[in-house]
C-alpha cells in the first residue's frame, strides 16, 4: 500500500530566494511525523505547497499514491488531507459547535445544499459533537469562538480539521503561544489523533517533538539535512551542529 503522503523533490521560490529546495518526505501510515528546523527553514512553505495554498515551483505531491500536486485546497480536503494554521484561524463570531459543524457538513458533502436547514443535518451535528467530546470542548459548544481562551482556540482549530475526518492531518505549530501544561495536553491529543489519521507536524517545542514523533525530518535553509527516528536524529552530529545543539545541547 502506498504511503498516505509522499513528497518528491519539492521546491518553491520567492523571487530570488529559494525557500524550499528539493525536499523529499514520506509519511508512513498511522505515524506522527514531525518537520523541525530553525525559523526560515521553509517548513511552513512546505506545508502550504502540500495543502494547496502555494503552487510549488517543482516537485510532486502524492496522497496514497494519487498525484495531487498543486490541487486547490478544497479538492485536497475531499481527497483526505486537512490542515491547521500557525496563526489561529477559527471562525470568530460563530459558536464553537458551528465552527466544527461547518467542517462536518463539508466532509459529508453538504456544502451545496441550499434548501434544508443546516442544523437539521443531524449526521453532521452528531459528528461535530463527537469531535468536541473527543477534544474535551463539548462544554463550550454554545460559546462564541472568539470568547475562548487562547489554548481552547488552538484546540478548536484542531477540532475543525478533525471534523473533516482526514486521512492525513497537517498541523502547523499547534502549541504556538501555549503554556507547558497546555503543550502536554496537545501532545497527548496528537498521539490519540494518530490512531485515526496520519499526522505531519511542524513544531518548535523540541522536547514535545522528541516525545511524540515516530519520525523526524530536519530542515535548514530549504533543504532536508536529516530524517529518521527521534533517537537517530537527536544523535546525528550534523543535526546537533546545525540546529539542536544551538538550542539545547544539554538535554540531548
Amino acid at each position: 500500500m502506498a504511503s498516505p503522503l509522499v513528497v518528491r523533490s519539492l521546491s518553491k521560490n520567492f523571487g530570488a530566494l529559494r525557500a524550499v529546495d528539493g525536499v523529499d518526505l514520506e509519511i508512513r501510515n498511522g505515524q506522527v511525523h514531525s518537520l523541525i528546523g530553525p525559523n526560515g527553514a521553509g517548513k511552513t512553505t512546505v506545508f502550504n505547497c502540500i495543502s494547496g495554498f502555494l503552487r510549488p515551483a517543482g516537485g510532486k505531491v502524492f496522497l496514497s499514491g494519487l498525484e495531487v500536486t498543486a490541487w486547490p485546497p478544497h479538492r485536497l480536503v475531499a481527497a483526505g488531507l486537512a490542515r491547521t494554521f500557525q496563526v489561529t484561524k477559527v471562525f470568530s463570531d460563530l459558536t464553537v459547535i458551528e465552527n466544527v459543524a461547518l467542517g462536518a457538513r463539508s466532509h459529508l458533502g453538504r456544502n451545496l445544499q441550499m434548501w434544508r436547514h443546516a442544523q437539521n443535518a443531524a449526521d453532521a451535528q452528531n459528528l461535530a459533537y463527537e469531535v468536541l467530546d473527543m477534544l474535551g470542548l463539548a462544554e463550550q459548544a454554545g460559546a462564541n469562538a472568539d470568547h475562548l481562551a487562547h489554548g481552547d482556540k488552538r484546540i478548536l482549530e484542531i477540532a475543525i480539521a478533525l471534523a473533516l475526518q482526514p486521512k492525513v492531518l497537517l498541523m502547523d505549530e499547534p502549541t504556538a503561544g501555549m503554556s507547558q501544561g497546555e503543550t502536554e495536553r496537545i501532545g497527548a491529543l496528537i498521539r490519540r489523533i494518530a490512531k485515526r489519521s496520519t499526522v505531519l507536524l511542524v513544531e518548535h517545542d523540541i522536547e514535545m517533538v522528541l516525545g511524540i514523533s515516530d519520525e523526524i525530518t530536519v530542515m535548514t535553509q530549504g533543504r532536508v539535512i536529516a530524517s529518521g527516528t527521534p533517537d537517530a536524529v537527536s544523535r546525528d552530529p550534523i543535526v546537533r551542529d546545525a540546529y539542536l545543539g544551538a538550542i539545547d545541547a544539554g538535554t540531548l
Partner: protein, 328 residues
C-alpha cells in the same frame, strides 16, 4: 453536551416564529390599502418593497458573503430593461416577462460573475462599479433597443393569468407577495448548509478553503443568485413606472441600494427591508422640506451608522434586549 443540545433545540423553536413574523407582516402590509391608507402612501410602500427585494439581494452578496459591491444597479437595471422590452414587444404577462428577464440575467451574470468573483475585497468592489458603468453606457448608446437617454417607454400594465394588475392596490399586493416570498426564500437559503458556508467565506476565505469549501464556486453562485433576485425587483419597478431610463443603471443607484442595506443593517435580511422603507419615506419627507435632501439623509445615515454600527436592525434588537431585561 446535554446543555449544548438544548441550545440547538431553542434555536430550532425560534425558526418557525421568525417565518411566521414574515407571513404576518406580509398580511398586515397587504391589508393597508383596504383600511384607508392613502393611495400616495401605498405608492411609496410599493416602491419601498421593490427596493427591499433589491436590498435583500445585496445583503446576500455583501452582508452574508462579504462581497462588497458598488455596482448592484447593473442587476436591477438589466432586469428592468429585459422585462420592460419583452413586455412591450411580446406580452404583458407578468411572469413570462419576469422569466425572460431572469434568463437574460443568467446569460449575463454567469460569465461576468465567473470573472468578477476571481477578485476579492476592494478589487471586486471596483470591478463591480466598472461593470455597472459599462451597462449604463450600453443603455445610453444602444438606441435601437434602449432608446438611449430617453429611456424605454410604453411598458404596458401587467397581466396575470389574463387578469390586468392595475396600478395601485392590485400591483401593491402583488409586490407584497413577491417581497415576502423573496424574504422567506432568502432566509431559508442563508440558514442552509450552503448559506452557512457563506459566513465562513466572509469571516476567513483561507480557512473556508481549508475545510473543503470551493470558495470561488460559492461566490460565483452567490453572485448569480443575487443578480437574479435583484432582477425580480427590476422587473417590478419597470412595470410600476411603465418604463425605465439609463439612470436606473447609474452608480448613484448602486450607492442608494448599498445605503439602504447598511442603514437597515447588513447580514440580517430584515434590516435591508427596514432600510429600504426608511429610505423611501425619508426621501419623501426630506424632499418636501429641503432643497438638498441627500445632505439631510446623509446626516441621518451617518448618525445611525455611528451610534448603531449594525444599522436600524441593530437599534431594534438593542431595544428588544432592553425590554426583555426590564421584564425579567
Amino acid at each position: 453536551m446535554g446543555r449544548s443540545r438544548q441550545i440547538d433545540e431553542a434555536e430550532a423553536r425560534k425558526r418557525p416564529a421568525a417565518a411566521m413574523l414574515v407571513v404576518v407582516g406580509a398580511v398586515l402590509l397587504a391589508l393597508l390599502p383596504f383600511v384607508g391608507v392613502r393611495p400616495f402612501t401605498i405608492t411609496l410602500l410599493t416602491e419601498a418593497l421593490i427596493f427591499a427585494i433589491w436590498a435583500m439581494s445585496l445583503d446576500l452578496m455583501t452582508g452574508y458573503t462579504g462581497m462588497l459591491t458598488f455596482g448592484h444597479a447593473a442587476a436591477f437595471g438589466l432586469g428592468g430593461y429585459a422585462a420592460g422590452y419583452f413586455a412591450r414587444e411580446v406580452t404583458s404577462d407578468f411572469f413570462t416577462s419576469l422569466l425572460i428577464a431572469e434568463l437574460v440575467i443568467l446569460l449575463v451574470a454567469l460569465p461576468i460573475g465567473f470573472v468578477a468573483t476571481r477578485l476579492s475585497g476592494a478589487a471586486f468592489a471596483i470591478v463591480s462599479l466598472c461593470i455597472a458603468q459599462v451597462f449604463f453606457q450600453i443603455a445610453v448608446a444602444w438606441r435601437s433597443v434602449t432608446e438611449g437617454m430617453d429611456g424605454l417607454v410604453g411598458v404596458p400594465i401587467p397581466t396575470l393569468l389574463g387578469m390586468t394588475i392595475n396600478t395601485g392596490p392590485e400591483f401593491y399586493v402583488l409586490t407584497v407577495l413577491i417581497a415576502a416570498t423573496v424574504c422567506l426564500g432568502l432566509r431559508r437559503l442563508v440558514a442552509s448548509p450552503f448559506g452557512r458556508t457563506l459566513g465562513a467565506i466572509r469571516l476567513n476565505e483561507d480557512r473556508a478553503a481549508a475545510i473543503g469549501i470551493n470558495v470561488r464556486l460559492h461566490k460565483w453562485l452567490v453572485f448569480v443568485i443575487s443578480w437574479a433576485i435583484a432582477g425580480i425587483g427590476g422587473t417590478l419597478m419597470v412595470f410600476m413606472k411603465a418604463g425605465t431610463t439609463p439612470m436606473s443603471l447609474y452608480w448613484i443607484e448602486s450607492g442608494n441600494v448599498l445605503i439602504m442595506a447598511i442603514f437597515g443593517g447588513l447580514g440580517t435580511l430584515f434590516g435591508p427591508i427596514i432600510g429600504a422603507i426608511s429610505f423611501v419615506f425619508l426621501r419623501d419627507e426630506l424632499t418636501t422640506g429641503f432643497e438638498v435632501w441627500q445632505l439631510a439623509f446623509g446626516i441621518v445615515f451617518v448618525i445611525v451608522v455611528l451610534v448603531f454600527p449594525s444599522g436600524l436592525a441593530g437599534v431594534a434588537s438593542s431595544a428588544w434586549m432592553l425590554l426583555w431585561r426590564a421584564r425579567s
